[in-house]
């Protein structure tokens, strides 16, 4: 009965914003910092719900997600990422807790600056990663689902990101199991999945919000002395909830990466004799 009333209130809120939801209920939606998502019918991403974050294997979805995660950490939320296929590299995520996310979407409204004005002493949220899921006899997908369920039930994280890309999709039964865990938790679950371009992107049962991303033109190419130094395509997306769809346009700021380190490359100072002896 209560959940029906809450759903009805949310519907009325979409029709007549600002009148139906109390302040506390508003906090149940996580603001991403992307205008197109935060002002869409879903008003951000809902806690205690499953959000599907999909796109082709190379579509920019994880780059956008990284910016959003950095925003959440800057807001003081705790995020954990289940990297079920060990695809992430640590150098891409090392400064997330400090709110540094590399290529930032243009027009991204970072919570960090706003939060610093209001709560300067607020600690940044935690960002952990779960990986190496094939450590015992159980398959890594089984371990990944177990890990997601444990993390949701622990109530220690605000967002659990389950990256199931490059593996077989989760069944509706697993979705139901995860939703059951979410019902008794405060966390939001994001399932990152790869869609093939030509196949259907129909979501599973229990998905509350669905986002889909893909590269689009025009490309932003940064030129250097000897040619192109970086390529940053535009990212186009759609967000769907309860049959309502909104478009998302994410343009990445132009960016030429420089590998700069505080120590120079270590040159090989050995003599040719020593080098030969070492090879032997």
């Amino acid at each position: 009965m209560r959940s029906n009333i809450a759903t009805l209130k949310e519907h009325f809120e979409q029709l007549f914003p600002g009148k139906w939801l109390t302040k506390g209920l508003n906090k149940k939606n996580l603001q991403t910092g992307l205008e197109d998502i935060d002002s869409s019918p879903s008003k951000g991403l809902a806690r205690k719900r499953i959000t599907e974050w999909g796109g082709a294997a190379s579509s920019g979805k994880t780059t956008v997600l990284r910016s959003v995660i950095a925003n959440w950490c800057a807001s003081g939320l705790h995020v954990i990422y289940i990297d079920s296929n060990n695809k992430l590299i640590p150098s891409d995520w090392a400064f997330i807790e400090e709110g540094k996310e590399g290529g930032k979407p243009a027009g991204f409204s970072s919570s960090k600056r706003q939060l610093a004005l209001v709560e300067p002493a607020r600690a940044a949220g935690r960002f952990w990663v779960v990986r190496n899921l094939s450590n015992n006899n159980k398959k890594h997908k089984q371990n990944a689902v177990w890990a997601a369920e444990q993390l949701i039930r622990s109530n220690l994280f605000d967002v659990v990101v389950f990256d199931s890309s490059n593996s077989t999709p989760l069944s509706s039964r697993l979705y139901a199991r995860l939703q059951h865990a979410l019902d008794a938790s405060k966390a939001a679950l994001l399932i990152v999945k790869d869609h093939e371009i030509t196949s259907s992107t129909q979501s599973n049962w229990g998905v509350y919000t669905q986002l889909h991303f893909e590269w689009s033109t025009p490309l932003v190419c940064e030129d250097g002395l000897n040619g192109v130094t970086s390529i940053a395509p535009k990212i186009h997306g759609t967000i769907a909830k309860d049959g309502l769809t909104n478009n998302i346009e994410v343009a990445m700021n132009s960016y030429a990466a420089n590998r700069l380190f505080t120590h120079p490359q270590i040159s090989d100072r050995r003599t040719s004799k020593a080098r030969t002896a070492f090879k032997k």
């Binding site: 994880t62 090392a94 400064f95 450590n135 622990s154 940053a232 120590h263």
Partner: protein
């Protein structure tokens, strides 16, 4: 620390490993393992009891023995030979022995070069120390520099200064060093305390299939063990649970704890979690629980560096007060324990930047729980700290941030890496790559960046690669019409002349 042989080649403690390897190609390196050293110290103390009834570990690798009353036991020279023989049998072939009236002159006597043992005559400690440099004294760098600048280079010169003057000019540190230079040292060996064993065994009388039927028995066993631990002011760090079937032990599992505890409820949950992760394969008739590792109870906060902060939400499920924080800490401990038991310690990690230019070495995953921060089970007085440094980023982020901003620290796009890199075939046209065969089909290379050439790591696994970012598509349509665009990271291996796909930008 580094060996004398390494020091001769220009290696010194505190050096970066990459610099050390560049200086000495055949350098051998081992990770510091405080627990291993502590266990070795404890074992060696037990071994040295053969020579003297009172033995204590003074510092890492230094032991104090009571050498009094040796007249009827062959004399002090025989004692030295016996100690060296025992040390040699235990594998420590470079040991040295010093005998004196007190600990400090005996310690200095072990440093005499080219002598396996040195005996300082009775009542002659001050005379022995007088001609030796003040380097032997435990002085801070500032005090040492001060004494040196005043022309005090030997302990004999130092002891000529009156005691009151030493206290006035050099403080309590100087006074303590002054006492040592006179040969007065209150350190004494003591009779070692035997290792305590905390064990509980129950014979159930009949075969039991599942532990659920006997949880109350396990609970009472753990209650008894934790009570014994509490009486000794100790906490369990590791449990060992053994299952028997008619006197045959068929299952023994070691359960390390996330953090030391003597809470029976927590220990019961840990045992239950272990059995959920690894169910028993047979019925059992007896059960034994042993506390294999324990430490002194320390009344301080958790060693997990980040305690979760509860959101200050009016609809929060836990109140943001002391009770809530205790519950949250318990939840965190249980969660970490579950992950360690089922997936291992490397499952929960944090990304840490590394000061390396090769992409695969520019960061590393650091386990959230580090084994090394857990205290070892030792029963001697250890002056050295056993904490190891968890953070090893060595990145001067402020410098890079000031110079370049975020782009100097974090790449633009997220790379999903292939492990290992996937070999591909690249087709060239007029000297530049035009197509690549990847994922079972040919793709046109629509855009390709100029290469980033990286080389190095010659002391380990040499790398010479040119990295490119390529925008590929299945169709040869103009750039404005992308069919199935994919942004790849590919590299050309110079040594093998092969191309690989390092990963996909997503």
């Amino acid at each position: 620390m580094c060996s004398p042989e390494a020091s001769k080649k220009g290696i010194y403690a505190g050096m970066k490993l990459s610099d050390a390897r560049a200086t000495c190609a055949d350098l051998l390196w081992r990770e510091c393992n405080e627990r291993l050293y502590a266990a070795a110290q404890t074992d060696f103390v037990q071994t040295l009891l053969e020579c003297s009834p009172r033995v204590a570990a003074h510092q890492s690798g230094v032991f104090l023995l009571d050498a009094s009353g040796r007249q009827r036991l062959g004399g002090e020279n025989k004692l030295c030979r016996d100690i060296l023989r025992i040390a040699g049998k235990a594998g420590y072939v470079n040991g040295q022995v010093g005998i004196a009236d007190s600990a400090f002159p005996a310690l200095v006597a072990t440093r005499i070069k080219d002598r396996r043992w040195f005996i300082v005559n009775q009542y002659s400690s001050a005379k022995f120390l007088a001609r030796l440099p003040i380097d032997h004294l435990p002085l801070s760098q500032s005090l040492y520099d001060l004494l040196f600048s005043l022309g005090i280079k030997t302990m004999g010169q130092f002891v000529q200064i009156p005691r009151e003057e030493v206290l006035k000019r050099f403080g309590t540190e100087g006074l303590a060093a002054h006492e040592l230079a006179l040969g007065f040292d209150l350190s004494q060996p003591r009779i070692p305390v035997a290792n305590k064993i905390f064990e509980s065994q129950v014979d159930l009388g009949g075969p039991i299939e599942a532990l659920n039927q006997t949880m109350f028995v396990v609970k009472s066993m753990l209650d008894g063990l934790t009570q014994s631990l509490n009486e000794e002011e100790l906490r369990a760090e590791e449990l060992s649970v053994s299952f028997f079937n008619d006197d045959e032990k068929f299952d023994e599992r070691s359960i390390p704890l996330v953090q030391p505890s003597n809470n029976p409820k927590f220990l019961l949950d840990v045992v239950r979690l272990s059995l959920e992760a690894q169910p028993l394969t047979r019925e059992f008739t007896a059960l034994k629980i042993t506390i294999t590792r324990y430490s002194s109870a320390q009344w301080q906060q958790s060693q997990i560096s980040e305690l979760p902060e509860i959101a200050n939400d009016e609809n929060a499920y836990q109140q943001n007060d002391q009770t809530g924080k205790t519950e949250t800490l318990e939840n965190m401990n249980l969660l970490l324990q579950r992950f360690i038991l089922r997936l291992g310690e490397d499952a929960l990690v944090k990304p840490i930047a590394n000061d390396q230019y090769l992409p695969e070495k520019a960061g590393r995953w650091q386990a959230v729980i580090n084994q090394q921060t857990r205290s070892a089970n030792h029963n001697y007085t250890d002056n050295s700290t056993s904490e190891s440094n968890l953070v090893s980023t060595v990145i001067n982020t402020a410098y890079i941030d000031n110079l370049l901003g975020e782009k100097g620290l974090v790449p633009n796009l997220v790379l999903k890496k292939n492990t290992p890199p996937v070999p591909v075939i690249v087709e060239f046209h007029e000297g530049s790559p035009k197509a690549v065969r990847y994922d079972g089909r040919w793709h046109y290379i629509k855009r390709l960046t100029s290469p980033e050439c990286l080389s190095g790591n010659w002391w380990d696994d040499p790398i010479r690669r040119s990295y490119y970012t390529a925008l590929i598509d299945t169709k040869s349509e103009p750039l404005e019409k992308l069919e199935e665009p994919t942004l790849l990271s590919i590299f050309h291996e110079q040594d093998s002349k092969s191309w690989f796909v390092d990963g996909i930008y997503d």
